[in-house]
Symmetry: C2
Amino acid sequence: MSRPSHRDTILTSGLRVVHEHGFNGASVRDIVQAAGVPHGSFTNHFPSKEAFVLEVIDLYLAEARLNLRDTLCNDDLAPMHRLRKYVDANIRHISLNDSRNGCLFGNFAVEASDSSEAIRLRIVEIFAEVEKCVDYCLMAAVSVGELRADTNCQELASFIVTSLQGAYLMAKARRDPTPVLNFKEMLFSRVLR
Amino acid sequence: MSRPSHRDTILTSGLRVVHEHGFNGASVRDIVQAAGVPHGSFTNHFPSKEAFVLEVIDLYLAEARLNLRDTLCNDDLAPMHRLRKYVDANIRHISLNDSRNGCLFGNFAVEASDSSEAIRLRIVEIFAEVEKCVDYCLMAAVSVGELRADTNCQELASFIVTSLQGAYLMAKARRDPTPVLNFKEMLFSRVLR
């Protein structure tokens, strides 16, 4: 295997740094230090911090899409089981690094949407994509009778994606994944019953 | 009436600035410029940006407590009506400034909790206070028969406060209060039915 390029190293290390410290909290200096590359490497590869962060978002999204494919969009599994699997995968993800990180998309929604319209629009687009996957799963649940036929799947999907963001935010504030576990409990015992 | 002191002006203008641009996004220079006071005034009154932000949080909390008192904790109103009133007041609050601001507490949970342990702990404490008010209102709803006797009010209160934070985050990202309106619809039609 060839050595990863400085570009790839900056992106993977940079993802870690901005996930933990945020768009404004992580400087380019922090990012090149974490990557172990000279400062000039950053400016060679990325015209701006915004351009870099848009690529970091794509890197994080690629991972998130694998999860969506294996869970919500996985037609081999029963629909409610997929939804559980999706929430469980996110609980594991949120619990990493002592639950300090939260969800990169939600973090950027809060703290980069004021600085960068391009980042804000990209995040809104990604939330819509995730919502579509939840909707797809819920419609499958209706079609096999796991949910009532009169369920408004789109509205419910939007509620689930939105509320999960609240649970990630709370977990990050408390450094504790319990809010996401509570969300799961409430979702299956009360919202979807 | 006496003229407000520089200290008060910095706090009220500063609240507006950090609410819109964030803990890391708003510099001390932005804050003194918005307040129309010399830079030295800031350092005279506040030993650090963290100390300033902790006071801004108290200012915002004072306003939030008035709302809590008039809605969730208002024993003159029927409990479910209080909860509706609480959510409606927050929809109005979130809609200000083209829905750009979000909730100051949620914003700081995301973007200041990594930089300042004092701010993080204060925010966690405030979320617990709001949760207690929701719990108080839900217990009243149980006692008058507006909610089932077997309702786990504490768990439900935690879910409501957490999910509302998700709705504020989404509204901020989209510059549109619809996610909070959707939350309200789902809360009363599905979660509390």
